[in-house]
Symmetry: C2
Subunit: 408 residues, 2 copies
């Protein structure tokens, strides 16, 4: 159940295995010759690596559908694909009040979903481990499976998480600070567990199942209660040195600006988060007090759209700050693609044409087009699927390490 | 003279060669067993890769100095090191009015330096190629060498450069926009050439010869006429998709703020660059008009230090904006180390304790120390050495590719 050390570089052959497996995964079905072409690994090495993986049950051969690819006369071409039933994975998103589970096979096909309320809003480390065990057991049983069918569990939670170490500096859902949560989970559940910050998991969800599938460098921004960001560089999620990078919501857009939940001033989130918009709305005495904050925001947006100048000015300011923050990201990373992802993307003021236009005006001007901006409005289970993707990556590494051990 | 395609992944063995060579380089002298340990490449593979490199003349064996390492009884240990005379490299920094050249051997030892004025402030592509040829010829001759002794030339220039493509979108020293400058240089000089943005070259200088030698993730910020940044992630310079990332100077710190050279408003550079400070100084009617801007700045700093409130307020504002910009970088990257590098670091207001303290207060607070900040006040030749490092990387790749071709 060991995890790859951060920064460790594997044996060339081991690196080749990981590259071949991730290439097959990204392309769904692929012939050996195309894998060799795509990875620059020699055809002989691809043949030997894929033979190992087939005998380990990780991948399988499938005849190429003649409609999808050209049929060489007399000789049907064979593609390789991930073997879906080689491993089942549970991905979990721990939210403020409840947890969502997605059960996926190793190809990423959904086998079932499950939701369960948290027993209380903040848990100790031991309570969290017990809750996750109960949750995965219930999720499997309710989908006609059992706990032992699961090869790995990915868990995403808000807060500051050092993913390679499995360490949580702080999370709003945990009453303990600075805990080795992954170890506690593995001890209780006896399965490989993988934890990460929820925004990184949106990046993984986009990379494995969404708009980021074949893009090497991209940024995902997600706006929910707070503002999150995931960074994919050179095909991998970039997590920073202490596990607290990509804190886009806490980049400053105003000296001595509005007060943020984090206690500092001028953070982007302090202009863009739910609470920031509602703080403004309350000053303007717009919508009624007894509505929930989600409904309040919807009402506020409706007022802005129907011409209420005060409501419009609230969204205008948020849009300006968002454009400035996004432009700063483009000026630093120059990514190929920015994905605005998550449920709140239903609040279309955030990606209104004029916000994106403002962003484009604030980036360094060169004679090539600025990065593409795509909106991905998908549901809450996205996070759980991202958590599953992270666990799949971990389970793949463990399986490939086992192959490497057989070698020597 | 081909360059590695951006994003191309090499054959595992080729990747192993690059890793072994860069590991030897970073550690100066290293035994085979330590290389295997450090890279996670098997000892047998390290032995075979290093044998190839020794016969190609890239590296050589040296007896380990008994004082530097433990001596195994009866059996002197052997280290490997880069063979300095295997290749000579010229690194060039093109500045506003002149060009500096550093000639280094393949170990990074300086063999000589040279400076020459630009014929005019803006050159066409062809004039630049002719100038660089003349420059390298003069630099070699004046150091008792000849042009043919040089294996590769690295060139750094201000502006927006797509380094992997060898393409210059724009540079203040070129009258042409959007030119394939590397191809033009190679055609004229008949040597492998490598061009990059000057700020990336500071990052390479720190990585190869400075404080970044053994650090995987770090940021270099340099403040001269403008504000530059180099990003090293996972041991490599991150250059963005279009070659215009790391534009730290043009991240915005103020909505509708001060006017920047780039034509936009609120850029960090518009508060921190020479011209920004002098603009303020001129409003306050501080130092005399007939001084050069460098002397003006020194006079302004002296006035601030001797208690002039107006002069102090100019540096205070610059320091606040710098702290905010730096904190944003930390919140996004969470690097292990930030290096403030370059000549202007003699202007100590920029890294005064209270500026760094302000930065620390603006980053996300976790219970681990914030990134280390180091000041590296080195001279103008740093840029040329960084350009040489980039060319060394390129020449190494060409040499290792040649080894790979012999294999098959």
């Amino acid at each position: 159940m060991s995890q790859k050390k951060s920064g460790t570089i594997l044996d060339p052959r081991q690196g080749g295995r990981e590259l071949v497996l991730s290439t097959i995964r990204a392309n769904e079905r692929m012939a050996r010759i195309d894998i060799a072409e795509h990875t620059n690994i020699s055809a002989a090495t691809v043949t030997s690596i894929t033979a190992e993986m087939i005998s380990a049950g990780l991948i399988e051969e499938v005849a190429r559908d003649p409609e999808n690819g050209e049929m060489k006369r007399g000789r049907p071409r064979v593609d390789l694909k991930i073997r879906g039933d080689s491993h089942l994975i549970a991905g979990i998103k721990i939210s403020q009040k409840q947890a969502s589970v997605a059960i996926l096979d190793f190809e990423g096909n959904s086998l079932g979903e499950y939701e369960q309320d948290l027993p209380k809003s903040q848990l100790t480390q031991d309570e969290m481990a017990a809750f996750v065990l109960d949750l995965v057991r219930n999720a499997t049983v309710s989908n006609g499976l059992k706990l032992d069918d699961i090869s790995g569990i990915g868990i995403g939670l808000a807060g500051i998480v050092d993913a390679p170490k499995g360490f949580v500096h702080w999370s709003p859902q945990l009453s303990d600070r600075n805990i080795a949560l992954r170890d506690a989970l593995q001890k209780k559940i006896k399965k490989p567990c993988f934890i990460d910050n929820d925004a990184n998991l949106v990046a993984m969800a986009e990379q494995w199942f969404g708009y980021g599938r074949k893009v090497r460098d991209f940024i995902v921004v997600t706006i929910e209660h707070g503002v999150g960001m995931g960074i994919v560089i050179n095909g991998s999620v970039y997590r920073g040195t202490r596990g607290c990078g990509a804190e886009f919501g806490h980049t400053k857009v105003q000296q001595e600006g509005a007060l943020c939940r984090c206690g500092q001033r001028g953070c982007l989130e302090a202009y863009l988060g739910d609470y920031a918009l509602l703080r403004e709305a309350n000053i303007a005495a717009t919508p009624a007090d007894d509505e929930s904050s989600r409904q309040q925001l919807i009402a506020l947006l409706a007022e802005a759209k129907s011409g209420n100048k005060t409501a419009q000015s609230i969204f205008d300011r948020a849009g300006k700050m968002f454009a400035m923050g996004l432009a700063n990201i483009v000026n630093i990373f120059d990514p190929a693609l920015i994905i605005l992802s998550g449920e709140r993307m239903q609040m279309d003021f955030l990606y209104a044409d004029d916000v994106i236009d403002q962003m484009r005006k604030l980036v360094v001007q060169v004679d090539t087009p600025p990065p593409e901006v795509r909106i991905h409005n998908w549901g809450d289970l996205m996070w759980a699927r991202g958590a599953a993707a992270y666990a799949m990556e971990g389970v793949s590494e463990l399986a490939l390490e086992a192959l490497g051990t057989q070698d020597s």
